[in-house]
């Protein structure tokens, strides 16, 4: 009885009990599949280790690898730009009505699934889609001059449209929690709004921006529906190639090799994320 009580009061036992579910989840759902796909990426069909899957993956899909990196990186940059612009306007905007409207509007894409977003964009960006109809209707272009945006631009637009609200939400929250009088004192010292955004606000919310962008980078790396629906011709994104290898050929080796390459890319940004976390934790 006594010792049971002691166990109950032992902090180490409790803290372990608290983190155990998280550890199990990470182990089962992350480490194990990751290890499994890594192992199978390096396994030959006849058994033994090989680089054949990677060689084939690079042979067939090096363009797509590059395409994926460029698309996701470009989207990340644009998302960062728009999220900062939205957060900045919400924090520094002068017109209270405009601020209220923006605040209400900007979050909507958050609640729309990727596949629906992609579907919306298909009808919006197609050659005879809503966007071109509007442009033609307003007399800016002749019907013959219109072009479809359902290529890499469509993917970028969809990603940016879908992910900006998420990052903007985090960033605007961080900006809102800054001391108002600090912004006012910068105004009092003569700084313009842009200057305050760049020199006073951004340096203080940078960790939040980085975290938001990394999370959306990882999400975009793993989205299949958007590239499939908007641009399934070559070059396309790795997620499409992986699905294709598996569905068309049952070729798990190359699919896993491509998956492993995606892991490496997200691994790099995850590393940046962790470093950011360590630096924040170490800050006084």
């Amino acid at each position: 009885m006594m010792s049971f009580h002691r166990v109950l009061h032992d902090e180490r036992v409790w803290s372990f009990a608290l983190v155990a579910p998280a550890l199990v989840t990470v182990g089962l759902l992350f480490i194990y599949p990751l290890g499994f796909s890594a192992v199978s990426a390096f396994s030959a069909e006849e058994g033994g280790w090989t680089f054949a899957n990677f060689i084939k993956a690079f042979d067939l899909y090096s363009n797509d690898i590059l395409f994926t990196v460029v698309i996701v990186s470009l989207s990340t940059v644009l998302i960062g730009f728009f999220a900062i612009a939205i957060g900045g306007y919400l924090t520094l905007g002068e017109n209270p009505y405009a601020v209220a409207i923006l605040k209400w509007l900007y979050r909507w894409p958050l609640f729309i699934p990727f596949i629906v977003a992609a579907q919306l964009m298909r009808t919006f960006l197609a050659k005879n889609g809503l966007m071109n109809n509007l442009i033609v209707g307003s007399g800016l272009l002749e019907p013959m001059q219109t072009q479809s945006f359902l290529d890499w631009r469509g993917i970028v637009i969809t990603f940016v449209w879908k992910q900006t609200p998420f990052v903007a939400l985090l960033v605007a929250g961080a900006m809102a929690s800054l001391d108002r009088s600090m912004i006012e004192s910068a105004r009092n010292l003569g700084a313009s709004r842009i200057r305050i955004l760049v020199e006073i606000i951004l340096p203080q919310v940078r960790p939040t921006i980085v975290v938001g962008l990394i999370l959306s980078f990882v999400v975009m790396m793993s989205v299949l529906s958007v590239p499939i629906m908007i641009n399934a011709q070559t070059p396309t994104m790795l997620t499409v190639d992986m699905a294709f290898r598996i569905n068309a050929y049952g070729d798990y080796g190359v699919a896993n090799a491509l998956g492993f390459i995606s892991y490496l890319m997200t691994g790099v940004v995850a590393w940046i994320y962790l470093r950011q976390g360590v630096r924040q934790g170490a800050a006084p």
């Binding site: 009088s181 600090m182 006012e184 004192s185 910068a186 009092n188 010292l189 003569g190 700084a191 006084p284």
Partner: protein
């Protein structure tokens, strides 16, 4: 390179600021002469901060005109006004070191880097922080942060310097020291300064003039001495120093004085245009003299409470004009509760309040304890 001043006057003409239905500043007019330190004093919510923000341009007046020097700045945006503000929370930029904080306004104004650095150095020297230029704000004590905020405001050599309760985050000892330093810098540089506080002692200590505010309007304006010796209403009497507000009767008089009866005592008090009838009288706690033993003819009172406070005693005395709060320096001869004492009033400390709209009840309600 020295920091000088471009002190200008500040003038409010019937300035009103309303937030929807809430009127934070109600038709306020005053003038602050160049080089003066004026405090805005009043209880919480009376509109002090709003008045200060109107001067800075952080709020725009709903009505009326604001002048800095000869210029009407009523519509001028905050960035274009030559006014520096020290915020209650100091509002330092946490990602910049002390030098960068102090030099930020100069950098924004486009000053050359070297010149800006020299000026910042000079401002830091003025507030006694020359050695801490490389420190980050988080690594400074509250008092040091406060000085950095002052240096950051001074360095721009503003026409007007504003302080919003600058000492409220400091402990009592430091508060006294810093307020003296602020006053010294202000006087040496001849800065026009508006200083918000709700601490009457602080206001008396640092000000050339005090504007007492109440419910979004000015209750009285004057030098510390004028306000203390001749409060215009019971609110000011009670807010600047303590005061017992009692009912009395004006028996008559002419010219500069009036004969006033307080209970069974009669006094001649300075007063302009008094008409006979009931009146309110403010009596300072230290203007009440107690004498032990029963004094046949004078006013008598019963000691209800006696508190020893080191250098003086505080009594509550029950008298025919109501309970009186008394501050008595004669600590060597305390009077015990229950005893009967004679009560007399010294002239300098008794004021006839001659304000028909005066309402003593409200005054004591809204003043801090």
């Amino acid at each position: 390179m020295t920091i000088t001043s471009h002190a200008a006057s500040v003038r409010f003409e019937n300035v009103t600021k309303a937030y929807g239905a809430v009127v934070a500043v109600d038709r306020v007019s005053f003038t602050i002469e160049p080089g003066q330190l004026v405090t805005l004093l009043g209880p919480s919510g009376c509109g002090k901060t709003t008045t200060l923000r109107l001067i800075a341009g952080l709020e725009m007046a709903t009505d009326g005109h604001i002048f800095i020097g000869e210029n009407d700045v009523t519509k001028l945006p905050v960035t274009d006004r030559d006014v520096s503000m020290v915020f209650q929370s100091y509002a330092l930029f946490p990602h910049m070191n002390v030098n960068e904080n102090v030099g930020y306004g100069l950098k924004v104004s486009g000053m050359k880097k070297r010149e800006a650095q020299e000026r910042s150095q000079e401002a830091l020297r003025l507030v006694g922080l020359s050695d801490l230029g490389e420190r980050m704000p988080a690594a400074l004590s509250g008092g040091q942060q406060q000085r950095v905020a002052v240096a950051r405001a001074l360095v721009l050599e503003p026409q007007v310097l504003l302080f919003d309760e600058p000492l409220s985050n400091l402990d009592a000892k430091l508060r006294r020291r810093v307020r003296e330093e602020v006053r010294e810098i202000q006087q040496n540089l001849g800065l026009t300064t508006v200083y918000v506080t709700h601490d009457q002692e602080e206001a008396l200590a640092v000000s050339d003039r005090i504007v007492v505010m109440k419910n979004a309007a000015i209750a009285q304006e004057g030098t510390p001495r004028e306000l203390y010796d001749h409060p215009a209403n019971s609110f000011v009497a009670d807010f600047i120093g303590d005061a017992n507000i009692v009912e009395g009767t004006i028996l008559g008089g002419g010219g500069e004085t009036a004969n006033v009866r307080i209970g069974c005592l009669e006094m001649e008090l300075p007063c302009r245009s008094a008409s006979a009838g009931p009146a309110k009288i403010a009596i300072r706690p230290e203007a009440i003299r107690l004498s032990a033993g029963d004094h046949g003819t004078g006013m008598r009172g019963t000691v209800r409470k006696a508190t020893y406070l080191g250098n003086h005693l505080e009594y509550t005395i029950e008298t025919e004009v109501g309970p009186l709060f008394v501050s008595d320096p004669h600590v060597e001869a305390p009077v015990a509760p229950g005893e009967i004492v004679g009560v007399q009033f010294e002239h300098r400390g008794v004021t006839l309040i001659n304000d028909p709209s005066d309402d003593a009840e409200r005054a004591s309600e809204s003043s801090p304890q």
